[in-house]
């Protein structure tokens, strides 16, 4: 018998796997992909500027919008949900009271994540109640996971129920109010479907690189299997990749050497006491020139992080989420990276979710894969698929999407009206 709350919420909408341009009714020519892992939907209520907002996600999604429209909140939301489900942090750290929507008096936050895997469509739901926001106290009052509508895991603030792969209730546990129950489930032969969901989140990379924070020294006692979004622990992550994921490391080195970092040969982790220092070795010498990672330019550091992320995602599939990947890069470096991200997404190798301000990124991807975020200064964010109407740019052959945004014309020319946007749920 399922908890009665299961039937009270709108079901996560089934989304097509082939969300290419044609499938979304957008111009251009793409067909279905065979992507095996894909976030199809994310919902947040009472979280920062999101009030009951559903984000539709395709193989390639580019979030575009003005400052403060919620682009970085999308990245923050997905990273926080991933970290919570994997047990990397507690609800108090990931969803503190300051993440409550400022103009909303309710004390509950609700999150949903729709994920499509070969097993079927997973729907994850999380509710957090901020009992005493002034004392930064909150607790998980609902967490559940279903596969094609059938339960795999349910919990409230009283009990946790765990189901096997045939959706039969198998165990009842006491909840921890601040930690995901799913993160505490041990891997067993009968719960492979739940574990597959968790594994997918382990292959979800979220990066908003800030090269000024990136250190060459890694002293982590625990291996860095998932890097921090700002990339500050990149050296530790690469150290882990070097030992556990040699092919990804090789792919990253080859891509850098062939393309964006002329003269680059390979990475080297040099012991220094209990820590290791990440060095980049270049052609030349002897001896070959070596630079600590933090001695490189900001643009070079970001390129190294992006290439490594592309290599890891290319090896494992999964989802790659990048906040402003064009930041710090040279003008000639942005489009090749975007082309590779587009190819990877449309060929079904891994899902790509981006945010961007940069006109090159906007012009390259927004017309086919763009999602326009907008909001009043103290109002909730809204999202619309960017759709350039047939003939919208006729007579303006040199006008680009970035021009439309810069001129404030996008709403009238290129974005569907809210009435045309499919209702969430």
């Amino acid at each position: 018998m399922l908890p009665s709350t299961l039937g009270q919420t709108p079901p996560i909408r089934q989304a097509s796997f082939g969300l290419g341009r044609e499938d979304r009714g957008l111009p251009g020519r793409t067909g279905p992909t065979t992507m095996r892992v894909m976030f199809v939907r994310c919902y947040a209520d009472n979280f920062r500027c999101f009030s009951g907002l559903t984000l539709p996600l395709g193989p390639l999604s580019l979030f575009v919008g003005a400052n403060g429209s919620g682009k970085s909140s999308v990245v923050h939301l997905l990273a926080s949900l991933r970290d919570f489900i994997l047990g990397r942090a507690k609800s108090l750290d990931l969803f503190p009271p300051r993440t409550l929507t400022r103009w909303d008096k309710r004390i509950e936050q609700t999150f949903e994540l729709g994920l499509k895997l070969v097993q079927g469509e997973y729907a994850y739901r999380l509710r957090i109640r901020h009992e005493a926001p002034e004392r930064a106290l909150n607790k998980v009052v609902e967490e559940r996971l279903t596969l094609d509508g059938k339960p795999l895991f349910t919990s409230d603030d009283q009990r946790v129920e765990l189901y096997n792969d045939r959706h039969q209730r198998k165990a009842e546990l006491l909840p921890d109010w601040h930690i995901s129950g799913i993160s505490r489930v041990e891997e067993r032969r009968e719960n492979t479907k739940l574990i597959a969901f968790r594994r997918t989140l382990e292959t979800t990379l979220v990066l908003a690189p800030n090269p000024g924070l990136v250190k060459a020294v890694s002293a982590e006692e625990q291996p860095v299997t998932i890097p921090k979004p700002d990339g500050s622990d990149f050296a530790g992550w690469l150290r882990e990749i070097v030992t556990s994921d040699a092919l990804a490391r090789q792919d990253a080195e080859q891509a850098l050497a062939k393309g964006e970092l002329p003269g680059f040969r390979l990475f080297q982790a040099v012991p220094s006491g209990d820590a290791k220092i990440l060095e980049c070795i270049f052609h030349g010498g002897p001896p070959p020139p070596k630079f600590r990672l933090d001695e490189l330019s900001y643009g070079q550091i970001v390129l190294i992080i992006l290439e490594t992320a592309l290599a890891v995602a290319g090896q494992h599939g999964g989802v790659l989420i990048l906040d402003e990947p064009g930041n710090f890069l040279g003008l000639s470096e942005i489009e090749p990276i975007l082309t590779r991200l587009q190819d990877a997404a449309l060929e079904g190798r891994f899902q790509v979710i981006l945010t961007a301000h940069h006109p090159i990124a906007v012009d390259f991807l927004a017309a086919g894969y763009g999602l326009w975020l907008e909001r009043e200064p103290t109002g909730p964010a809204r999202v619309h698929p960017i759709k350039l109407a047939e003939g919208a740019l006729e007579g303006e052959p040199n006008l680009r999407v970035s021009d439309l945004i810069a001129r404030g014309w996008l709403s009238s020319l290129g974005v569907r009206s809210p009435a045309e946007t499919p209702a969430p749920g």
Partner: protein
């Protein structure tokens, strides 16, 4: 390996771009030397014709090691008619006509790119099929014996095209594909430094 400073690839969409890049990279062109200009909005063929002329005009200013390659569906309008339409755009800007030997290359699949993708994918998989250039496979679905083309088939199809010898094409190879391969060889020769 051809040393090319820039090839501008003008296409109706990502699939065509993926196919074109598959060919060029297989031919040894550095992927970073390929700038893909795929249609963003509105009518695809109009956009390609206009953009091709714009890029050819740019080529006139920065010519060394550069070329413009366009892929444009014939769409049942007739090869000659399509070529005339493109030439019209070039002429209106006072530009020289299409010439693969001079880095201004136009590929015209009949009826559309799907004809080539289906044939090349089947050829690559050693399971040859017959295609008819009159049939619109985009609307009618795959030819007999073929699976529906997926996005991830486009780049390998471009690669498979590079592996063909246009002077001795395999049996059943669509005539416009043979012609396109000849143009592509001439184009690569023209833009290599």
């Amino acid at each position: 390996m051809p040393r090319v400073s820039k090839i501008i690839l003008v296409c109706e969409g990502w699939r065509d771009s993926s196919f074109g890049r598959g060919f060029l990279v297989a031919a040894g062109v550095d992927p970073r030397a390929i700038e893909s200009r795929a249609n963003r909005a509105g009518s695809g063929h109009d956009w390609v014709k206009r953009r091709f002329a714009e890029e050819v005009a740019n080529l006139k200013r920065f010519s060394e090691g550069r070329g413009v390659l366009a892929l444009l569906d014939e769409d049942g309008r007739g090869i000659r008619a399509r070529e005339d339409e493109v030439e019209g755009h070039l002429k209106a800007r006072g530009l020289l006509p299409v010439s693969a030997e001079d880095g201004r290359c136009l590929l015209l699949p009949t009826r559309n790119m799907e004809t080539w993708l289906y044939w090349l994918t089947a050829h690559r998989n050693s399971s040859p099929i017959e295609v008819d250039e009159v049939i619109d496979y985009k609307r009618m679905g795959p030819p007999s014996g073929a699976q529906r083309i997926r996005n991830e088939d486009c780049r390998p199809a471009g690669k498979a095209l590079h592996a063909l010898d246009h002077t001795r094409p395999p049996q059943g190879c669509p005539p416009m594909l043979v012609r396109a391969l000849g143009h592509l060889r001439a184009f690569l020769k023209a833009v290599s430094r």
